[in-house]
Symmetry: C2
Subunit: 410 residues, 2 copies
């Protein structure tokens, strides 16, 4: 029998407890050994649960019990999760976590401590909830050099954008609906401002390219500036707007990484990822594009990923899994690339005739798709591929009263 | 240094040799040990290759060399692959294969022999080419009970159907184009008649549900009967036709499994899987739907999956991976379920007025979507959900001169 502890009994933590306690046969069959939940750490009282006898409020009981071999950290947040996880690893316990904030901030350090102490530190649930992505990336794509990762990494923002695209809902109404459905938190900032997606692309990039990427190094833009008009205009060009997290290896040994609203073609498999679903598209030099898709959040999906990691730890109490990256450094991440790109533009002007004339003289020879909307006094178009500064110079000359640009993956 | 042998130097085999020989650093970094290709078994001569000194024509050289720890079987076909693989496992060598025919026919037996001899038998490349699916299914979904698998498992047929859907090409022209592009073989029967997809759903079902499923137990229908008219009619109902392999756990401990052309809604993520791409949708009781997507075939993608398995064997020369199912039995697979389903129907009749009148009297109260095409004297519709025999009885009464039905996942 292998004793484990769960730290945190919130949404994910209660899911982990329920799977381990309600499905002992399934667990034992996979591990060839039963798993016993010895402690659940939470400051709150849960007197009405069938397993209420397992609750403790003092972390040291877990830390000082040599019988506890595996600890699941599902509290979230950086503190005290970081101190607790570090202490557990140092005392020879394997740790599993769903905490993306922790892994994105302290992954390299904790992985190294796990290595020094010959225990495992696993965190499949920190990216993509129940979607298997980190382990397949490391194991199955082992013979590949990963060159690029693009993902829809946040279910809340994808749900909101999807409601705008499919149901013509405006941003505020879609956000309110997401909150009512429990897909968005009361304070939705971490989701809608892109921070959650940012942490996940940091973890993916670190694992794929071998060096820690700090959230502060990744230029991050959320979806709060995306209007229903943008969504509709994008649709006219056969595109949808998605919040994309992207990381890519550069020839100079550095990487680029960003999170931002991005136009993608309806022909792309990513455009069909709707609702709260997530998808991670990984490009390998031999496999080409491989995509992992599923529910990126939610109690059961995330909990099942945590339990799968705990089972893996239980099967490998004596062996370490290969999940590793080094410390990052200041100059490792280039924010945006000086590479040719296509930009989606909506330009409007009270003097519509002048705008049209300028557009004609500046972009007339570019042979590009555009829509002139006389009623709105607006021209929308997707530029030809060029360097961003060249495009921006042209856009300045348009003399538009209002101009809005969105990046594309076209 | 770990010595390995490659049996077969065709499309996949040459890819395996190239990755192992051209990327020694990548391999060594992953394995923490260099891998040396000691032999390549092929009856043909390859004198012009830089590694032509490795070629042998006698299998016994591999079998009797105790230095060879891992063998990749990439010859394809049941014989002599089966004898060779069995002999290797019995002599204590781990074996990796991309051979779906072999695994679908002899998987349970070979897995058992590997177990008895404390070596590994891995076959990630046998399903979905370069897409990681078997290993994530076993490992990451370990805490889940898998209830259902649906997949687009054959790139050739998906390419052909896609050309019909997108470019209005008829079946014969699309097949010819696929052959010209190298996506279909000269004798395309195994692909277009569904046998290849059948083998893959057998492997997926065996792994997911724990018991061997023999190809002969799976009712298999290819795409040769699908016409451009079918594709266009399906499109009018917001659907696409895909060749789907499906397996599902039943309450009575049995499973159902089939391969057949199936209407799926354009809202389904599977409908966006185009060209030669494959996708496998796995439903777990906790995770819900998880999809794995990528190139299902091709030299490099498949070879990289074989190499990844070889690397995994090299890292676990002393430890066995958990990849296991038992022998199957005769009554384990129910061909089609007696479950309510919706069926897509195209009915035509020279006496179009009578057909319309019959349709009105039989289906008039069903409140279903239909298209009446007077020019073609045809009515197309999707039935309400009902038992297949009930639907068939109704269809017989239609008095249609010609009637064509296609199953749906709606």
């Amino acid at each position: 029998m292998i004793n484990v502890a769960i730290m945190g009994h919130g949404v994910v933590g209660s899911g982990v407890a329920e799977i381990l306690i309600n499905h002992p046969k399934r667990i034992e069959k996979g591990v060839k050994n039963p798993i016993n939940v010895k402690y659940i750490l939470d400051l709150r009282d849960f007197d009405n649960l069938s397993y209420s006898d397992k609750f403790i409020k003092d972390f040291n009981i877990i830390l000082n019990d040599p019988e506890v071999k595996i600890v699941a950290e599902v509290m979230g947040g950086l503190n005290p999760a970081y101190d607790f996880v570090k202490a557990c690893l140092l005392s020879g316990k394997s740790v599993v976590t769903s905490n993306k904030e922790l892994v994105a901030a302290k992954g390299a350090e904790l992985i190294d401590i796990a290595k020094q102490n010959n225990v495992n530190f696993l965190f499949e649930a920190s990216v993509g909830g129940g979607i298997p992505v980190l382990r397949p990336m490391v194991q199955c794509l082992a013979a590949n050099e990963i060159t690029e990762i693009s993902g829809i990494l946040n279910g809340t923002t994808n749900y909101i954008l999807n409601k705008m695209i499919v149901d013509n809902m405006d941003f505020d109404s879609a956000l309110k609906l997401a909150q009512e459905k429990g897909y968005a938190e009361k304070n939705p900032a971490a989701d809608i401002e892109g921070h959650d997606a940012c942490r996940k692309i940091c973890i993916l990039a670190a694992l794929a390219f071998g060096k820690h990427v700090y959230p502060s190094q990744v230029k991050t833009e959320g979806i709060t500036q995306i209007s229903l008009d943008d969504v509709e205009a994008a649709d006219s060009f056969g595109c949808v707007i998605k919040l994309i997290g992207h990381a890519e290896k550069l020839d100079n040994g550095k990487i680029t990484a960003w999170v931002r609203p991005t136009l993608i073609s309806r022909d792309s498999i990513l455009s069909g990822v709707n609702g709260v679903f997530n998808a991670i598209l990984v490009t390998g030099d031999h496999t080409g594009d491989v995509m992992f898709y599923g529910k990126g959040a939610g109690k059961e999906a995330t909990a099942s990923a945590v339990v799968a990691d705990m089972m893996d730890c239980a099967k490998h109490l004596q062996a370490r899994k290969y999940l590793y990256w080094e410390d990052g450094n200041e100059n490792y991440v280039e924010q945006y690339l000086n590479e040719k790109c296509k930009i989606f533009v909506r330009a409007s002007c009270d003097d519509y005739e002048k705008l049209c004339a300028n557009f004609e003289s500046i972009f007339g020879n570019d042979n590009l798709c555009y829509i002139k909307n006389k009623f709105r006094k607006e021209i929308s178009f997707i530029t030809n591929a060029d360097y961003e500064n060249v495009i921006n110079e042209k856009l300045e000359k348009l003399g538009a009263g209002q101009i809005k640009t969105i990046h594309t993956m076209l």
